[in-house]
């Protein structure tokens, strides 16, 4: 990559940080750049400090990085907190109506409603659209793309608002341009196919819709809410039943009921809410009802850091619910994986009649990545439900070799569908028979044998002969990948192994990927190395060292590289 720009936009909650970063990111992608964004926000609605970082390059990006080239400070606090991070060649754009101490020793550009759009009542719009324009000016990108984007976005708000935005963008652009082009994106060529900018949870919402989702229930909880919202916003158009439940118990209960009666159902939550769902995990497993459940992780224990990121719920989700019961557990590392694994989750749930979990986190949920349409292949929705007349008596839980019994729906024919959370006979009625119990428990757990054949999700990258292997899972993919790339660029041979399909544990694939690893370093977003414990438990292999992070912020290549010092 020849260009690698980090734009940090910060302010108090409510000041319009998103209003700057959303159009800016899109405009840059439309221009042809690769963009990667992250969001960093507190558990409050107004005030405090939040920021988004937009990283821009001419080459594909998979991770945030440290350092700031353009700092947009909507208030004094932002300037105070991030001034140090700005590179010497960097520039500070600030809202002069809010920032009282002008930044010194660095190039800067003051914006304010008065200077960007004098004599209007545009207020925040002036600074927001103005800052967007100014940044494009600074990086030598024409403003036209941004203007049409703002027109699309604010069209519904009437001509005055559109006009303000347009004018502010243009004025800002000029102000930026006048500063010269410390960073130029002018040479970036438009790609043959347009690219898109999409966040992890958005990609999963599309995956769910593509996979035929027609029922979603949930209860708000950060960071799960963004997925729930992304689906709900599209529900009317695509015919999805959406219900906000009274609590997570009901959210999961409704999803199981809906699935039992024939919906392609999904629910989700974050750790605290998942606690309340665990009883129903067992219900789904016992009644063999398909279900997709997303657990968007955040740091705990308990309420913890509600708006931050974590990879701390792996073991919890894996073992949630009493006694042994079958399930699958996936953890995407990129939006493209998010899409594909959501589709896969629906398919596995349907065919194996089990709950399938997808673990995400705030970093994955909110980070936008530049993708192409090829990352989102079309899906053929297939139902595994049996309709039509049956031969002989219908048994919902007929014992089969695969553990999967033909599934019918109640109300679609004379066959009665009897489901029970107690141990039951093949026809679904409660039993305490010892032999039946063993047969049923075996049958349910037998599904794992088939399932494990369908899992893999091991991504290996880097040099086969490298002495060092970085092992990671889920959302750490990007930062680890960039770490690898940077090391390889320095001619340090290194490998990475990333897992995105975690249960039933793909022992063979993982063992194969790790068998020649000389030294394994686990990289995980929790304090104890949960994947590493799972790895050892399942394969006997264990990492030589762990690089852990549990401060609620995502990994960066810089963090990993620093921790690797002396290890390579």
């Amino acid at each position: 990559m020849t260009i690698d720009l980090n734009i940090l936009i910060g302010g108090a909650a409510g000041q319009g940080v998103h209003s700057i970063s959303a159009p800016l990111g899109k405009a840059l992608v439309r221009h042809g750049a690769h963009v990667f964004t992250i969001q960093d926000y507190q558990s409050r609605i107004r005030g405090g400090h939040l920021f988004n970082v937009i990283r821009v390059s001419d080459a594909p990006l998979s991770s945030p990085r440290l350092g700031v080239d353009i700092l947009v400070a909507l208030n004094q606090e932002t300037l105070d907190l991030h001034r140090e991070e700005v590179s010497p060649e960097g520039i500070v754009i600030y809202d002069a109506s809010q920032v009282k101490e002008t930044p010194e020793g660095i190039k800067s550009l003051a914006l304010s409603p008065d200077t960007v759009l004098p004599d209007t009542e545009a207020g925040d719009i002036a600074v927001n659209a103005g800052a967007c324009g100014a940044i494009l000016g600074l990086v030598n990108v024409p403003v036209a793309g941004l203007v049409s984007l703002l027109e699309e976005t604010f069209g519904a708000k009437g001509e005055e608002v559109v006009g303000w935005n347009r004018q502010a963008a243009q004025n800002g652009h000029k102000m930026g341009k006048d500063k010269g082009h410390p960073f130029s994106l002018a040479d970036i060529a438009k790609p043959a196919q347009p690219r898109l900018l999409i966040a992890g949870h958005e990609a999963m919402a599309l995956g769910a819709l593509a996979a035929g989702l027609n029922f979603i229930s949930g209860y708000p909880m950060t960071p799960w809410t963004s997925l729930f919202t992304a689906v709900s916003q599209r529900a009317l158009e695509w015919g999805v039943v959406v219900e906000q439940a009274e609590d997570e118990i009901a959210a999961m209960g409704m999803a199981v009921g809906a699935s039992f009666a024939g919906a392609r159902a999904m629910t989700g939550t974050s750790g605290g809410g998942f606690c309340l769902m665990t009883e129903t995990v067992g219900l789904a497993a016992m009644t063999e009802t398909p279900l997709v459940c997303v657990v968007a992780m955040r740091p705990g224990p308990s309420t913890g850091l509600p708006t931050r990121t974590s990879q701390g719920d792996l073991e919890f989700v894996l073992f949630a619910g009493q006694d042994d019961s079958p399930r699958a557990l996936l953890a995407p590392g990129t939006p493209a994986q998010g899409y594909a694994l959501t589709v896969k989750a629906f398919d596995l749930a349907e065919r194996y009649q089990i709950p399938v979990f997808i673990l995400t986190d705030q970093f994955f949920a909110d980070s936008q990545v530049t993708c192409t349409a090829k990352d989102f292949p079309a899906v053929k929705v297939e139902s595994a439900v049996v309709f039509g007349p049956s031969e002989g008596a219908y048994e919902r839980y007929a014992i089969t070799e695969s553990g999967v019994s033909p599934r019918r729906l109640p109300g679609f024919g004379p066959e009665l569908v009897v489901a029970d959370s107690d141990e039951h006979t093949p026809d679904g009625h409660l039993t305490e028979d010892l032999e039946v119990r063993i047969a049923m428990h075996d049958k349910r757990l037998r599904k794992l044998k088939g399932l494990v054949q369908e899992l893999d999700g091991v991504t290996v990258a880097g040099r086969e002969d490298a002495g060092l292997t970085l092992l990671c899972w889920g959302s750490s993919f990007g930062p680890v990948k960039e770490t690898l790339d940077r090391l390889q660029q320095e001619n340090t041979p290194v490998r990475m192994v990333h897992l995105s399909e975690l249960w039933p544990f793909p022992k063979d694939a993982v063992t194969k990927a790790l068998q020649n690893a000389e030294k394994i370093i686990g990289v995980e977003g929790n304090a104890t190395g949960q994947l590493n414990r799972l790895l050892r438990q399942e394969t006997g292999i264990t990492a030589d060292r762990l690089i852990l992070k549990y401060d609620g912020r995502p990994f960066t290549p810089e963090y990993i590289l620093r921790e690797l010092k002396g290890q390579i």
Partner: protein, 284 residues
């Protein structure tokens, strides 16, 4: 009328003489008279003696977990609005563990018949207090008796605008059968609480005890089930006289109607076509 034998389920595990038996009889009779075939009814339950009910009726069954019949049933209605959905719950199940779903379901008003088997005790776990146990009722956990008064399920229902509220008594099968029929025919949430003596554990609220107290509220001269205040008072009447019958009728739109997609019938029968190119449009 369909033959009642059509609804024969598996053999029951209830105690001889249990108030659940006459309920079972009344329920089957009601189905037969309403001519609802086994395959068109879905009975959902939680866990408890009362929650074994659907196994003893030939029907589609979702025997879920303790306290959680309503969410599952609501999900079923939202997936297939053609199903006649009945929830059979215990007083502990619904007023104890599942109380939060009750509150929310009153608001939603799905087309579900919710039958609460009120035996004023936890039967299946051997005689602990339920939320409707009388103050002073002695149990293994409270040898000095339950220290506070019982929950008023029907009054909560009226206060929360439940669209149909009634009470039956297991000792009056015909009257109960008519209540089942009305509750099932009602479009919207029908809460039917049934006084169901537990002959094993509840030695206070026996068949006789109820028999001496219940009266048919529809025979009262001031019977006025569409009047909220009247209904509220009847819902709270519990003492020397206990009303049975239809207590409140408050027709309201059902929740399922707010989903356009359900107007086209069960979700499982609908074609799903979502071109990914269209889905991606927002992100360019």
């Amino acid at each position: 009328m369909l033959p009642i034998e059509m609804y024969q389920g598996i053999e029951s595990a209830w105690c001889p003489g249990c108030g659940n038996f006459p309920m079972l009889k009344a329920f089957k009779q009601a189905l037969a008279e309403l001519e609802i075939r086994p395959e068109n009814i879905l009975v959902v339950s939680g866990i408890g003696q009362s929650s074994k009910f659907p196994h003893y009726v030939k029907c589609n069954t979702f025997n879920s977990i303790h306290g959680r019949g309503l969410p599952a049933a609501t999900g079923c209605r939202l997936a297939n609005p053609n199903l006649t959905v009945v929830v059979t719950a215990g007083d502990g199940d619904q007023y104890g563990e599942g109380g939060n779903h009750l509150l929310a379901t009153f608001r939603r008003n799905p087309d579900i018949t919710l039958v609460v088997h009120n035996n004023q005790v936890y039967g299946l776990t051997k005689g602990q207090a339920s939320p409707t146990s009388e103050q002073g009722y002695q149990t293994p956990i409270q040898p000095k008796g339950v220290p506070y008064p019982p929950l008023h399920g029907l009054a909560l229902a009226v206060a929360q605008d439940c669209s149909w509220v009634g009470r039956g008594f297991a000792g009056m099968v015909d009257h109960l059968k008519e209540l089942y029929k009305q509750a099932i025919n009602h479009r919207g949430l029908a809460l039917l609480e049934v006084l169901q003596p537990c002959v094993t554990f509840n030695k206070v609220n026996t068949f006789k005890w109820y028999q001496e107290r219940v009266y048919k509220v529809e025979e009262s001269p001031d019977y006025d089930p569409e009047n909220e205040l009247w209904a509220y008072q009847k819902a709270k009447e519990w003492g020397p006289r206990i009303p049975i019958g239809v207590i409140y009728k408050n027709p309201r739109p059902i929740f399922e109607e707010s989903f356009a997609v359900l107007a086209e019938g069960p979700l499982a029968r609908q074609e799903i076509e979502r071109p990914i190119s269209k889905l991606l449009e927002d992100f360019y």
